[in-house]
């Protein structure tokens, strides 16, 4: 007994998450540095000397960020006590991203032009959401003792997805006549619930559970349709139902981003589960066909694509029609590109640019604000952080012990990666701009909570598989 206790004690020191603690130092100092810079700029009207730095309320101003760092450390200690074997790289990466989000919202809030803003407490709101998100992340880890539990109720998740989308569908049908894209927001008291954020997690869980059960049947195929082999109808049914959700959100709810997200997630996960390229090729063909039909039928899709086709680099020789477009419906992306371009390579410096000119800069176009103030260099670093998170996610998937956990981790990572890709490409005019938020960096409680749930599930899976492989100590 005594020996066991000493073994546990030495294990506790040896197994302390030193790597995570070490990786947390730099993000914390980066955030403190940014906040200091912001305070210096805000407090100095005299922009040539440092005279008035002496009466800076430096500690007061730093309190939000210090609070954030304290919260991250608390999470770190809780992970140390309960989930010692969970992945050690994810938390530092995620905390740097969400910290950047908080600092950027603090900076953007007061500058947002009238009609929407100024919102002086945008930063503290974001901070509260991040804290709630961290709590939810830990909550997810505590609740999900057994990951297999999720797969047992997969059809419940399917219903959940559908129920969550239903109000938007009804709203979409009611307003079918006008071509504006809707924003699916449910008002529950003070909470503006954006169901699509939680929908995507439900979709991933359902797909993972469903593919886990039917992987062999799907990989073998049943019916022959020319060179194609289709699975039997009983297995095809839920799959088609899921795709119809994507289609509904595309045609009726008019939310292009969500449709893109669900459809590409479907492609990724079927490929991961079956390893057959034919599914991917056929689905891509179907996607192009549907996209073309949607393009010719729906006004809002045409508007979105018009933005992609527009070339602002030739701004000196714009025709009057193009000029009108740049100031009208293409204004958001056009302003965003101008903002990115003015950042240059090193950026204008945090707090020194004018990113708030871009409409909806705090959520949809948040990426351009980072691009302007941190420059190309900072942009590469941010994309690098996203890539590392994705790498970690797939690694957790590769190390997981059972197929369902593997599929779930791979799916959640794909959805995270796809979301980042779709919105950043949209901001940079490479894809049609859609209304899905940039994970962790843009304003909005729903996105932050949903992404922290994703991280919570990933951490839990990595903890479970490590414990199963090596034992608890």
């Amino acid at each position: 007994m005594a020996q066991q206790i000493t073994q546990q004690a030495t294990g506790a020191i040896r197994q302390y998450r030193w790597k995570e603690l070490g990786l947390l130092i730099l993000p914390c100092s980066i955030l403190l540095l940014l906040m200091t810079q912001l305070l210096v700029i805000h407090s100095s009207n005299d922009t040539t000397t440092l005279n008035n730095l002496k009466n800076l309320p430096i500690l007061d101003g730093l309190i939000p960020i210090l609070g954030f760092i304290a919260a991250i450390l608390v999470v770190h200690f809780i992970l140390n006590i309960f989930f010692r074997k969970a992945d050690q790289v994810l938390l530092p990466l995620v905390s740097l991203l969400s910290g950047l989000g908080v600092v950027m919202m603090t900076r953007l809030g007061p500058d947002i032009p009238p009609r929407v803003g100024p919102i002086p407490n945008l930063g503290s709101k974001q901070l509260v959401w991040v804290l709630v998100g961290l709590a939810i992340c830990l909550g997810t880890m505590f609740i999900l003792r057994n990951i297999g539990w999720l797969s047992r109720y997969k059809y419940t998740w399917l219903l959940f997805c559908f129920a969550v989308l239903l109000p938007s569908v009804i709203k979409g049908i009611l307003t079918f006549k006008n071509a504006d894209p809707t924003r699916d927001v449910l008002n529950f008291g003070p909470l503006n619930l954006q169901p699509s954020e939680f929908l995507k997690i439900g979709v991933v869980i359902f797909f993972a559970g469903y593919l886990n059960d039917n992987r062999d049947i799907l990989a073998e195929g049943h019916y022959r349709l020319g060179p194609l082999r289709l699975p039997p109808l009983r297995q095809l049914g839920p799959l088609l139902f899921m795709l119809s959700i994507a289609l509904l959100s595309f045609l009726v709810v008019r939310e292009l981003g969500l449709a893109l997200l669900i459809y590409s997630l479907f492609l990724c996960m079927t490929y991961v589960a079956t390893g057959k390229k034919s599914y991917v090729l056929v689905s891509l063909g179907a996607f192009l066909l549907l996209g073309f039909i949607g393009y010719s039928l729906l006004g809002y899709v045409q508007n979105r694509f018009a933005t992609v086709a527009f070339n602002p680099a030739d701004w000196a020789h714009l025709t009057p029609a193009e000029d009108k477009f740049a100031l009208g419906s293409g204004n958001q992306v056009y302003q965003g590109l101008t903002s990115v371009a003015s950042g240059g390579i090193l950026g204008s410096g945090f707090g020194l640019g004018l990113p708030a000119r871009v409409p909806v800069v705090d959520s949809d176009m948040a990426f351009t604000a980072y691009a302007e103030e941190f420059g190309l260099v900072g942009l590469f670093a941010i994309i690098g952080i996203y890539l590392l998170i994705v790498h970690r996610g797939f690694r957790i998937a590769a190390e997981a012990s059972d197929t369902f956990s593997k599929l779930l981790a791979a799916g959640l990572t794909s959805v995270f990666a796809l979301q980042t890709l779709i919105i950043t490409a949209g901001d940079l005019k490479l894809l049609p701009l859609t209304g899905i938020p940039l994970p962790y960096l843009s304003n909005g409680g729903n996105a932050i909570m949903a992404n922290f749930i994703i991280v919570g599930i990933l951490l839990r899976i990595s903890h479970n598989s490590a414990v199963e492989r090596e034992g608890a100590y």
């Binding site: 090193l346 410096g349 900072g378």
Partner: protein
């Protein structure tokens, strides 16, 4: 000192710190990858994996596919089920496609149900969470009873 110079220094410091952090993460990840690669390459680990134990069918219940006395070899991580990915495949209607998991850690077998319909039991105790099992214990997978031997 001039404020613009001070701000420029802060800006450059920010970029340097950001990239230092990225480098630190990449180093941590590569070290991690190398460690797992080393474990995978170790030939000793593969040799040890040979001698784990067996499951011997005691009672096959209504099944005609397995007969009492049949012997299955165990690996450190063994999965039992109907699907082709399992270590031990039993294509019986009462066995789920992924039925149960057995893993050998620190000299003890742990038996866990993998979300099956008919359940996994160790000495008639349902194994929803991993249950430790010793040589001689009866492991019931669906209606088939196995005896665990070392």
């Amino acid at each position: 000192m001039q404020l613009p110079v001070f701000l420029l220094i802060l800006r450059l410091l920010f970029i340097v710190l950001l990239y230092l952090f990225l480098m630190q993460v990449v180093i941590a990840i590569t070290r991690d990858l190398r460690k797992t690669a080393a474990i995978g390459d170790n030939p000793d680990a593969a040799r040890i994996a040979q001698s784990f134990g067996h499951l011997i069918v005691v009672d096959s219940g209504p099944s005609t596919i397995v007969q009492p006395g049949m012997r299955f070899d165990l690996e450190q991580q063994t999965t039992i089920g109907r699907g082709p990915t399992n270590t031990i495949q039993i294509s019986d209607n009462f066995i789920s496609s992924e039925h149960s998991r057995l893993s050998f850690r620190n000299g003890v077998w742990y038996v866990q149900d993998a979300g099956s319909v008919n359940g996994t039991y160790v000495n008639n105790q349902p194994a929803r969470e991993p249950i430790p099992a010793r040589a001689g214990d009866i492991v019931r997978v669906g209606y088939i009873q196995f005896k665990l031997t070392q």
